[in-house]
Symmetry: C2
Amino acid sequence: MTEKSLISPRTLQGFRDYLPEAMIPRERLMETARRVYRSYGFSPIDTPALEYLEILTGKGGEETDKQLYHFEDAGGRAVGMRFDLTVPLARFAAQHIVELGTPFKRYHIATVWRGERPQAGRFREFMQCDFDTIGTRSIASDVETALVIHDLLRAIGIHDFTIRLNNRMLLTGLLERRGLAERSAAVLRALDKLGKIGADKVAAEMVDTAGATPEQASEVLKLAEVSGSNDEILRQVEPLVAGSATGEAGVGKLRETLAALAAVGVAEPLVKLDVCIARGLDYYTGTIFETFLNELPEIGSICSGGRYDNLAELYTNQELPGIGASLGLDRLLAALEKLGLVEKVATPAPVFIPYFDAARLHDYLRMAAALRAAGIGVEIYPEAKKLGQQLKYADRRGFRVALIAGQDEFDRGMCQVKDLQCGEKKDVPLAGNYAELIEAVLKLLR
Amino acid sequence: MTEKSLISPRTLQGFRDYLPEAMIPRERLMETARRVYRSYGFSPIDTPALEYLEILTGKGGEETDKQLYHFEDAGGRAVGMRFDLTVPLARFAAQHIVELGTPFKRYHIATVWRGERPQAGRFREFMQCDFDTIGTRSIASDVETALVIHDLLRAIGIHDFTIRLNNRMLLTGLLERRGLAERSAAVLRALDKLGKIGADKVAAEMVDTAGATPEQASEVLKLAEVSGSNDEILRQVEPLVAGSATGEAGVGKLRETLAALAAVGVAEPLVKLDVCIARGLDYYTGTIFETFLNELPEIGSICSGGRYDNLAELYTNQELPGIGASLGLDRLLAALEKLGLVEKVATPAPVFIPYFDAARLHDYLRMAAALRAAGIGVEIYPEAKKLGQQLKYADRRGFRVALIAGQDEFDRGMCQVKDLQCGEKKDVPLAGNYAELIEAVLKLLR
């Protein structure tokens, strides 16, 4: 062999390959998301990975800009890779909404990139699954957004979760009443840290950073003392916002949303008011959602979102209110793995046909074609190696059933159907267009 | 309204948005590809959009380098965006094949980027759907590759197509016999243009560029005179390669492949020998495929591929032979549109519920939930606008069925089921957990 210099095969830091064992469940998650989004009439869209840099940086602060992959293209244009799906949606809506008409409901499942320093569990490339309803202020869409989150998690196989619900109008009303309307952004940013750093540190931040008085901070933190059932919580917050039209409207919308959700059986403890969540972005103006896995609250919200008044103000004068949420696919996948909810298989086809008799390729091809026509995935081993070696391969990949036929079986017009999970075997006739074989395999797979 | 300066919402040249009408069929194509690939045991993988630049440019010539989007990242690394899925597969295989084991069958459906000057129908961002079998030289995989192409097009709804088949060993043998072994790359590049520029110009290029004598060129171009059935073609090429072990083996492999395909009913005219196709890349060493739509041959091959001896030689000393093909998703989609095979709908949900009576949101939500639980997609209009306006929206989106219920219908415990294609209406009882309603809708959708 001649000596040659090889290029070291490796991925960039913060990036990763998805091998079949990881990609099969990841694809299943995406499919489930698509199916649930579609079942509510959300339509798929796609936008370019690369956008004009000014489109991407228009909305973000310095923080965002630093995280952005950007460069000059061969035509001298400043371009960047999308870092979320909201900015592209805003640009897309500004550009196409006249053609599309409102209400416009879209989902977008796509990769985004962030140049941030990769930490444990943080990557520079990840998949987002967003859905939004644009062009309506109706509470019906707020209700629907919560229902989609609920159906999505159920469809994924998660039953022990909590959708936490709040409304920014409630918070805005409270801050208005306490004379903090001008400082709301900073105050809410502090409030949002309640779960992480506790009430004392939040109060300190409200005073030190947001410029509230200690009395004001303590009034806002009365929110943290609110507890009980959703009804009890609503009764406790009502006096805190009384006198603020915005705050009272916020409480009314929460009550209306909860009632509609309960009408279709989505009630406590699945949906829980949490009047302290604010979500960082200034962008939200109404209903806010966060979703936690009760067994893994520490991983944070896996599906968050909320209502906004004006999606695309940087790109159009047309006012586009809406509501949406985003499923953090890769974070959820990591959680599912921790919870043991991810099946370890490396084959998407359940049936394996060893290439047992070198002269019988045509027969194996016919068997496989008949099974596939019946909707059953089948892999034929490509080489006529020793049977034991082929079955070892099948084991490693995680096939469910093997169909073993050599000279002897073909002479008898039979095929051995082997359950690879329990090892049981049984001979099945091949005659009659493989009808019995198909039946036997379907029975094992059920 | 205050004057403000807007950022013009636009996409970069050569990039495009996919609106629902385009994205719904595009997603359906991807799903079909996934389903067919899986039914043969190909597993999904994914790799990063960004790779070390040296990984990407290792194999390509200058042509490729110019087309590459590349830049320096914040860490000073030279990085590039993948321009195909073969180079990432080679890197991936070199890195993981020990863990994965062989044979390894993967599919990869992902976006690639090329900085080339965009022309009509050419974009800088497009989707590829590749599948490959790595780690085996067995002809069974060649046969399977053709079967996957066949099943894929059938599943998409295309029946009038031709899979063109050749084997590079046949060409290599012929060139050996004519003393052109050393010049084979340039000769084959010329031969590949036969369909586009004709035999005379190909002969001229063989002489002028590839350095063949006119006699040699004319000998090679005997391939262009070969015609008839697959069997007749094989008989005519046999004397052209006689005496070359490689060429004779090539003919043998073609015969074996055709026989196996015929055994599962995939024969002429679906599979047709074309001994003049060579496919540009040096990389191919055995079986070659191209696939044409008989009604639109001018768009070129929509699914091409072939066998190679050594996938990842730039990254590993392990020899990795294999075979694969790539479906040009966006090219195919454009073709399907031309052929009128793309249904124009802008909703993935077939059923529409107008928000007719403002007080009845809970009822609409219950109806929709019951239908969704039965697997039927339903969109509720979010606002209680005039019915006519809502139905106009439904028309524009392409819903199939509307479920209309106002005060009057609810009082009678009924719902009007309207077929939006023919306009027929019928009243259906709501009682009994919507069982009759579900039945009526399913009947219309069938």
